[in-house]
């Protein structure tokens, strides 16, 4: 096939980019080479729109062993143990084929983790769907949940937490972000950087088929009504083979045979081989006739761009081939020596004894385009004036019941019951708490993890929203008694070629950077997903943050269920009553305007660290951060979980009860304290100048507030627990 500008454009390259390729190469690329350029230069692999801004992220810290740039980030958790973790998007494929799209998303992120030598120990997922009324939502949700479960359950890694959100901005672009944590000995971490020339390059795992050719370009394109035509690019996952691959790789890694290893993810053999060579400042030569193929007559172009799943590329020490082959034979996986490292600094491809491609590596990696796209700042919206007289007519009980059954507030048990969350025998905190917690096998330590996003806040004011998500993640970890260590981020945005979307991206990143720096909560890995747009309608900006924290003694973890009648309940952190962008304002009053709550990083840090101290001293019986819905929703969840009630004290001062109960001011937690500890707790809070309200007393199975609310917990529980199940069954 003759390569022309129009062929290049069909490959998703811009006219100028094609001209630049020809200039750099000093000739026109052949079709295989063009395919390679298009894969490496698209947004998904080159980060051409985001690179400039991602540099602003705070990525260093005492416990950071590996920051962004590798397959995943690595943090030190003491005693030679390290945690490898990352989050990744699989949005586009999941919209087209929810089961396989979500399943292969989970498979892909797990490979990123075990590529580094870590055994996966926990999965999380953040999933966003369109409005529940939208005709596609139910099937997409069902398919995605089955896909996530289907893959993770089969591998035998527990799914310990997640987040599920509905908003009409996702009607045409759902989000499926999958996160995995792995455990590794910090002296036995494997990297993708190749070293040494003339070392054998090994292909292992499944055979290569014509799957998902140009999947990486699809991930960088917007949808339109002709989406059906893009269908063949979806891949089918084979979790069984991945499980074998996991065990085989870990078995091989016990020895010192591997120089570098890289999974074949987006853009398959192309990006994996080029990244290894590029990082090692080497060349690589591959004989594509040796690649195990599933189908007949596959061309070099197809072999290089295939996105068949469950495959790995390894640079091995010379002479270890037979040793390695035995291991892969035992696990019944393909194994082939397909090439070698060279000092040419080029990628050279052979096929049936002909040279079919030759490209200097730096043209593909370092010299790939980088754009400084135009972007627009979002002004802080004006404050909404709520009519207090109108509020007075609202019945508090009815309002609370309604909010507890809102799609975004309701219980997500229907989802996580379908995820194996107990396999591996170390799950201390199952889904349903503020963060999932798994024990480090055979030790006293445990790690906590949570995924969070707040698209509405980010949409209203991206900079505040970016800061807020980081803080929410920090709070969720603290709420279970974990010391926050580091985060990973999945940045889901619309079309970066539009100034508004690009502005949302830039400001969210800046917000994330500021909060994570202040809190010493560095970003160690992440992923960007642009072009979440259908027919010109983009999603709300949705940065997802996955946080990881450490618990030194798992027996000290805190859960959110109220424990004992007579215990005192405090709200710690100050409540101003910020209703703009709250669930109450947006979904109950239908007032969508206004600014998100502001973040005070000093308070955030002070409150969080002090609370950790209280927990460590054993003074806290239960704890929950105040997030969506405000105080009353948070307290109701604690009641429902503990099957206990609460008698709420009359409010002090002049604050309006709706503002107090439903405001979404940040930096707050609810804690339950045994009467005998009250003095100590208030002393510590006072000494740290932390504002707190004595909110109420744990009571027998009734939530009550003066004459305004008298609700049996069973009634609250019923509205909260069954919205999702009823919706899925209807």
């Amino acid at each position: 096939m003759k390569v022309t500008e129009s062929v290049a454009i069909d490959h998703g390259l811009k006219k100028e980019e094609f001209t630049k390729i020809c200039e750099l190469l000093k000739r026109t690329p052949n079709i295989t080479e063009l395919g390679i350029f298009s894969a490496m230069w698209n947004e998904h692999c080159s980060y051409k729109s985001s690179r400039k801004h991602l540099k602003k992220l705070h990525t260093k810290g005492k416990q950071v062993i590996q920051g962004p740039g590798e397959n995943a980030g690595v943090i030190d958790i003491g005693d030679d143990d390290a945690i490898v973790f990352k989050i990744e998007s699989h949005n586009h494929p999941s919209f087209i084929e929810p089961y396989q799209g979500a399943a292969t998303g989970v498979g892909g992120i797990m490979r990123d983790i075990f590529t580094m030598g870590a055994r996966p120990i926990a999965n999380l997922n953040s999933i966003h769907f369109g409005s529940p009324q939208h005709k596609k939502t139910k099937n997409l949700l069902r398919g995605v949940v089955k896909g996530i479960g289907g893959y993770g359950n089969c591998i035998g890694v527990p799914t310990i937490a997640g987040q599920t959100n509905f908003d009409e901005s996702y009607n045409g672009n759902i989000l499926v972000n999958a996160m995995t944590l792995g455990l590794v000995n910090k002296n036995k971490i494997f990297y993708s950087k190749a070293a040494g020339t003339n070392k054998p390059v090994i292909y292992v795992g499944s055979k290569t088929g014509r799957d998902g050719i140009h999947g990486a370009s699809m991930a960088s394109a917007t949808f339109d009504d002709k989406i059906e035509e893009k269908k063949p690019t979806v891949q089918v996952g084979d979790p069984f083979t991945e499980k074998l691959l996991l065990e085989a790789c870990l078995e091989l890694m016990a020895d010192n045979s591997i120089i570098s290893i890289q999974d074949m993810g987006a853009a398959g053999l192309t990006s994996s081989s080029i990244e290894m060579a590029s990082k090692g400042k080497l060349g690589i030569e591959l004989d594509l006739s040796k690649v195990p193929c599933r189908e007949e007559k596959m061309t070099p172009y197809e072999i290089m761009l295939s996105e068949s799943q469950e495959r790995m590329l390894i640079v091995l020490e010379k002479g270890k081939e037979n040793y390695a082959k035995k291991i892969f034979d035992k696990w019944n996986l393909d194994f082939a020596v397909i090439g070698k490292t060279t000092n040419s600094k080029k990628i050279e491809l052979l096929f049936e004894n002909n040279k079919v491609a030759e490209i200097p590596i730096d043209l593909l990696a370092e010299n790939s385009p980088m754009y400084d796209r135009k972007w627009k700042k979002t002004k802080l919206p004006q404050k909404i004036k709520f009519n207090k007289d109108d509020l007075k007519t609202i019945n508090l009980s009815d309002c609370l019941k309604k909010i507890l059954a809102f799609p975004n507030i309701s219980d997500k048990k229907w989802i996580w019951d379908q995820y194996d969350h107990t396999v591996m025998g170390d799950t201390i905190q199952k889904p349903g708490g503020d963060a999932g917690v798994v024990r480090i096998h055979g030790s006293k330590k445990a790690v906590a993890s949570s995924v969070d996003s707040s698209a509405s806040y980010c949409f209203a004011h991206p900079f505040s929203g970016g800061k807020q998500v980081v803080c929410e993640s920090w709070r969720n970890l603290i709420s279970v008694g974990a010391k926050p260590i580091a985060i990973t981020n999945c940045l889901n945005f619309g079309n970066p070629e539009k100034e508004k979307n690009m502005g949302e991206f830039v400001e969210c990143v800046e917000g994330i950077a500021e909060a994570s720096k202040y809190l010493d909560f560095p970003v160690v890995s992440g992923n960007v997903s642009f072009y979440n747009e259908t027919n010109d309608r983009g999603i709300k900006p949705t940065p997802t943050i996955g946080g990881v924290g450490l618990i030194s003694d798992y027996k000290k973890i805190i859960t959110m269920d109220f424990k004992k009648n007579g215990n005192i309940v405090y709200v710690i952190g100050k409540t101003e009553g910020h209703l703009d962008q709250s669930v109450f304002a947006k979904d109950f009053l239908n007032e969508k305007k206004g600014a998100p709550p502001s973040i005070n990083l000093f308070n955030e840090k002070n409150v969080g660290e002090t609370l950790l101290k209280l927990i460590d001293l054993g003074l806290v019986a239960s704890c929950h951060d105040v997030s969506l819905g405000g105080i009353l929703v948070a307290v109701s969840k604690m009641c429902i979980k503990g099957n206990k009630g609460i008698k709420i004290n009359p409010l002090k001062g002049l604050i309006n009860k709706f503002e107090y109960f439903f405001g979404e001011d940040q930096g707050r937690y609810i804690i339950e304290v045994n009467k005998s500890n009250i003095k100590k707790v208030s002393e510590i809070l006072n000494n740290n100048s932390i504002h707190y309200d004595e909110f109420g007393t744990v009571d027998e199975k009734m939530l009550s507030f003066k004459n305004d609310i008298k609700l049996p917990i069973e009634e609250l529980s019923n509205v909260h627990k069954y919205w999702l199940r009823n919706y899925m069954d209807s």
């Binding site: 359950n153 069984f240 074998l244 019951d417 379908q418 107990t422 396999v423 025998g425």
Partner: protein
């Protein structure tokens, strides 16, 4: 006491079972499915997971593996064979136990704690357990037990039903049946009661900081019988 846990490609509760057996004092060894024979053991365990991806039917492919011959011989000579979850599915597919485990009635994978009623105590798995109702944990997509009318009658007549799903008080009805299993069956024996297959995972119930502790009773009793 020696136990052997057999690992099939795709098993994923093998380590959990190993941890549990060792915690209660078994000398456990892990056996690879391709091995021709099993070293001398007092107990053989087929662990949970997704042997061969659960492709075709759960347990069907594993039931054709080389090692199964030795498991069958061991069982026929009276040795104790325990199959948990996928292990139970392998036992039915290999003919050591009657019936089949179909997809859950509500079509979803289920992971949660359940209560089961111990239906027979004249066997080495449950004989000295004081409680009649145990809290255990299930995690499966195909746990919906089914067999023919004649077979169920014979299971009942010979007291081969081991455990049934129930509520905290022992009530066995549809509401407490998580997967649609015939007669709420969660586990059954062979005729001689040396082979037990059950869907619930006792190995996930050996720590109060995890899902609970009733699984400990099961392992303690088993060990007591083999001492």
């Amino acid at each position: 006491m020696k136990s052997s846990v057999i690992i099939f490609p795709g098993s994923n509760c093998d380590r959990d079972m190993d941890v549990a057996l060792k915690k209660f004092g078994f000398k456990n060894q892990m056996i690879w499915h391709n091995d021709q024979s099993i070293p001398k053991s007092d107990l053989i365990v087929l662990p949970g997971g997704f042997s061969y991806g659960d492709y075709l039917r759960c347990g069907s492919i594993a039931s054709k593996s080389k090692i199964i011959r030795s498991v069958i011989d061991f069982a026929n000579s009276g040795g104790l064979v325990l199959g948990i979850c996928n292990g139970f599915q392998i036992l039915t597919e290999s003919g050591l136990l009657t019936g089949i485990l179909q997809q859950n009635k509500y079509l979803n994978f289920i992971c949660k704690n359940v209560y089961v009623k111990v239906k027979d105590k004249k066997n080495k798995y449950f004989n000295n357990i004081k409680k009649d109702i145990l809290e255990l944990h299930i995690a499966h997509n195909e746990g919906n037990y089914f067999c023919s009318r004649d077979e169920i009658k014979s299971l009942e007549d010979n007291n081969q039903i081991a455990v049934t799903y129930c509520d905290q008080k022992g009530l066995e009805n549809d509401e407490n049946n998580p997967n649609g299993a015939l007669k709420n069956i969660a586990g059954i024996f062979n005729k001689n009661k040396n082979v037990l297959g059950m869907m619930p995972h006792p190995e996930r119930m050996i720590d109060k900081y995890l899902s609970g502790e009733d699984g400990s009773l099961f392992f303690e009793n088993l060990l007591g019988n083999l001492k």
